[in-house]
Amino acid sequence: MTLALEAPRFVKTLPLLRVDHVSKTYGDVQALRDVSAYAYPGEVLGIVGESGSGKSTLLRMMNLEETPDQGSYSLNLPETEGNLFDLDRFARRMLCATKIGIVYQNPHLGLLMKHSSSGNVAERLLVAGERSFATLRAKATTALEASEFPLERLDAPPIELSGGMQQRVQLAKAIALEPALLLLDEPTTGLDVSVQALVLDTLKRLQQDRQITMVIVSHDLGVIRTLADRVMVMRRGQVVETGLADQIFQDPQHAYTQQLVHAKL
């Protein structure tokens, strides 16, 4: 056993994100069981676990795509109060469009594959109420540039782009409105290793330049190690361990985490 940790004493800011005691059942399957998580402003929380651990379900809840059977979710932002799971559909859509960005492993979930790349990014701005064509174009271009997307391909539809470029379009769409929270669901899984490194590098830069709070879900420990400040390990719908990233990788406490870390190439 290790020592119980104290509440923060020097850092007075509150977490930006708090998920408390969330449980969710699909038929006979308990996808999440009493899961709690938090992330401080500017912090990168990594969630690792194998398929079926509940990590992606948890991320979809943070994006208000799913509602749990029990539990609450709050973001410490102006004009955002109470349990966000209680919001109606319209309020959810608005909150997601303006405060939360998400990048999915599968670009088909996040993009209209036959519309232009800049149009995909601009759509996000339209939802938030932007109507001037010039502003839309300019903001979309800025976001694509920040995602290190080649600007000569602005008008190419994602279906004609490589996997790495599709992820950059998703990322541009996610950050176009400068969200407080960026959610990443296996953002580099399925990409070539070299492309994966470049996308991770872009994410790292964005995080440092803009101090965005991020939650990244991956089964790939290398990805988590590259990006995360703090790591949460999930298994069968439960949190088995959380800690500072270097502690989780160098001194894992739980048998399952030790197995995961030792299995890493």
Partner: protein, 239 residues
């Protein structure tokens, strides 16, 4: 002198679940370090020297004991401090120096060295100037400053790493064999920088394979060899 760090009854063991056993690293260690004091850790391989440094930095979680640290915000027990407080102290007051650089793709040497200053709120121009000065002192040639260290040799990477690790004066510095495989010029620069930080009041705890590299900096030696654990005054010991 005021103690910056008081280690009290600190114990660390590793539970290896797949083997079903526990490996003790060290147990019931107690000693204090004052501001501006340099403590050398001694002991055979496996005595727990590096493990102790990593436990103080909280990369490892201890099983028992206290690590009372006098931060600029008051006292805190590093053995029990919240993760967010540890992360904050690592950015501002507690440094860890190894011989290895974690290079990142497409980040220049000067940007890597400037980063701790940037995180501490130093303006970009000023941080860059200080970073270049530090690289120069450690003997990294100016044409390498804007280049990416991922492609540097091991020795050059190590110099970039030291320049970065020592650029921001800290209250507590943990040194894990930083001189290993350094060339003579860089070693001299490292020792000079440590002496400078020490005179500014940084408390240091170090593990050195060749302690003679830092001989004149050592104030006290703590021997971690089990059954033989004690403290000795520098004056009594031939290093």
């Amino acid at each position: 002198m005021t103690a910056v760090l008081e280690i009290d009854g600190l114990s660390k063991a590793f539970d290896l679940h797949h083997l079903g056993n526990r490996i003790a690293a060290f147990s019931k260690i107690s000693f204090a370090v004052d501001a501006g004091e340099f403590v050398l850790l001694k002991g055979a391989n496996g005595a727990g020297k590096s493990t102790l440094l990593r436990t103080l930095y909280r990369s490892y979680l201890p099983q028992a004991g206290q690590i009372r640290f006098q931060s600029s915000h008051g006292e805190i027990d590093l053995a029990r401090a919240a993760e967010v407080d540890i992360a904050y102290l690592r950015r501002s007051e507690i440094g860890f120096v190894t011989q290895f650089l974690t290079a990142r793709p497409r980040v220049s040497a000067e940007a890597i060295v400037a980063e701790p200053l940037r995180l501490a709120g130093v303006a970009a121009d000023d941080a860059l100037e200080q970073a270049r000065h530090a690289l120069d002192i450690f003997g990294v040639k100016p044409d390498l400053w804007p280049a990416y260290p991922t492609t540097f040799s091991g020795g050059e990477q190590q110099k970039v790493n030291l320049a970065r690790a020592l650029i921001l004066p800290q209250r507590l510095l943990l040194l894990d064999e930083p001189t290993a495989s350094l060339d003579a010029k860089a070693r001299a620069a490292l020792v000079a920088r440590l002496a400078e930080l020490k005179s500014q009041g940084t408390a240091m705890i170090g593990v050195f394979h060749h302690p003679d590299d830092v001989e004149h900096l050592i104030d006290r030696i703590v021997d971690l060899t089990p059954d033989h654990y004690n403290e000795e005054d520098r004056a009594d010991v031939a290093v």
